[in-house]
């Protein structure tokens, strides 16, 4: 490994990158904000600001808020961070890899959406309390998934 990394010229943005890319970046950053806030309140055991309802605390304090000892919000945060890294990478990467990045973004957003669906089911039918932040994150994931499907359909005409 050469310790002195050479500064290479960044290849120009690919034509497929368009307003969808910016929208996905925006949604991913919003997702990082939501999941980050929930992770933060969970790790520091703070009450969740939740409008007038007590739903957020009920959900956050329920036994469903953790999986294998890790708050589920942290899983969400990791997924959003992975998406952010991939989205940035997509602008910097050669054409032959771009398809794989698009496919990975599709996979992660699908995973996130399915998992959010399960969590929303738990909120609605098991915990019987809805947390606005969690719903927001679920909607962001659905939007990201829809956009990634769109991208894939463009890469694979």
């Amino acid at each position: 490994m050469n310790g002195f990394a050479k500064r290479k010229a960044i290849p120009p943005a690919l034509p497929v990158v368009a307003w969808r890319w910016w929208l996905m970046m925006l949604l991913t950053c919003a997702g990082i904000g939501v999941a980050g806030y929930l992770s933060y309140t969970h790790l520091f055991e703070l009450p969740v600001i939740c409008g007038n309802s007590q739903g957020c605390d009920l959900v956050a304090q329920s036994i469903y808020a953790k999986m294998f000892g890790v708050p589920v919000a942290v899983f969400g945060l990791l997924a959003y961070i992975a998406l952010l890294v991939l989205l940035i990478a997509r602008r910097r990467i050669g054409e032959n890899l771009e398809a794989y990045v698009t496919l990975t973004v599709f996979g992660i957003s699908l995973l996130g959406m399915l998992f959010s669906a399960y969590l929303t089911y738990l909120e609605l039918f098991v915990i019987l309390a809805v947390c606005t932040w969690c719903v927001a994150s679920a909607l962001i994931m659905v939007a990201l998934f829809v956009l990634s499907v769109w991208e894939i359909s463009l890469v694979n005409p």
């Binding site: 605390d57 009920l58 036994i63 294998f68 054409e95 496919l103 599709f106 699908l110 309390a129 890469v155």
Partner: protein, 227 residues
């Protein structure tokens, strides 16, 4: 990443898309399955110690023949009671499961109307069996962090459903306030016994007020156990 250079041409095949979809669906299904089996263990499953009801109608866990007897007065809304319930759960394998300690539970519902409501609900669960009482007890304390709303009628009923109780009987019991008199009687009996805060517990007759750390409780129990 190693495989990538092989795919020179840009584009994603349908097979790849199906592969990714399949992998993700399987991943989520696995997660849900693992999680629900974990939750079943947390919210019930089989208890590792005997449970029952005393002649006075109080639920207990641990053998009645155990050398150590703890009479515990607790409020479901009280944080130190929840801490102490966790400590008791942590030592249960070594002491309650091995016939060294019997814990007899008494409701001392004095903090708020929600305490009374939760206490009544716990007795409605007891009606369906002492093991259900303890599972319900654990679930109530696990949900306590949600504040007062954690013990709303809707949610108390949801816990019962979650544990697989007979919901018709449970809801009838809760709605009719069938256990109101008993909860009040338990409170009066507790006051008579000298309880004025929670958790208060009598270990072989010796009064202790407040929660205790797991280590301290283990030491105390060991010092009282016959050699």
């Amino acid at each position: 990443m190693r495989r990538m250079p092989a795919a020179r041409k840009q584009g994603i095949t349908t097979a790849q898309i199906i592969l990714v979809i399949g992998a993700m669906v399987i991943a989520v299904a696995l997660l849900i399955m693992l999680n629900s089996s974990r939750l079943r263990r947390a919210t019930g499953g089989t208890l590792s110690y005997p449970t029952g009801v005393t002649q006075e109608g109080a639920p207990y866990k641990g053998s009645p023949d155990a050398p150590l007897k703890m009479e515990l007065y607790s409020d479901f809304l009280c944080g130190h009671c929840a801490d102490f319930a966790n400590v008791l759960e942590a030592i249960s394998a070594d002491y309650i499961g091995k016939g060294k300690l019997q814990v007899i539970f008494h409701n001392f519902a004095f903090l708020a109307p929600e305490s009374v409501q939760a206490a009544q609900a716990s007795l409605c669960a007891l009606e369906q069996g002492p093991a259900y009482f303890w599972q319900y007890h654990d679930l109530l304390y696990a949900s306590r962090g949600g504040g007062m709303a954690a013990y709303s009628t809707v949610r108390l009923k949801a816990y019962a459903q979650e544990l697989g109780l007979d919901t018709d009987a449970f809801n009838r019991c809760l709605d009719s306030r069938a256990k109101a008199a008993q909860v009040q009687a338990d409170l009066d009996a507790g006051r008579q016994a000298g309880v004025d805060g929670t958790p208060t517990w009598f270990l072989n007759g010796q009064k202790h007020v407040g929660a205790m750390s797991e280590g301290a409780l283990r030491n105390l129990l060991d010092s009282l156990l016959p050699r």
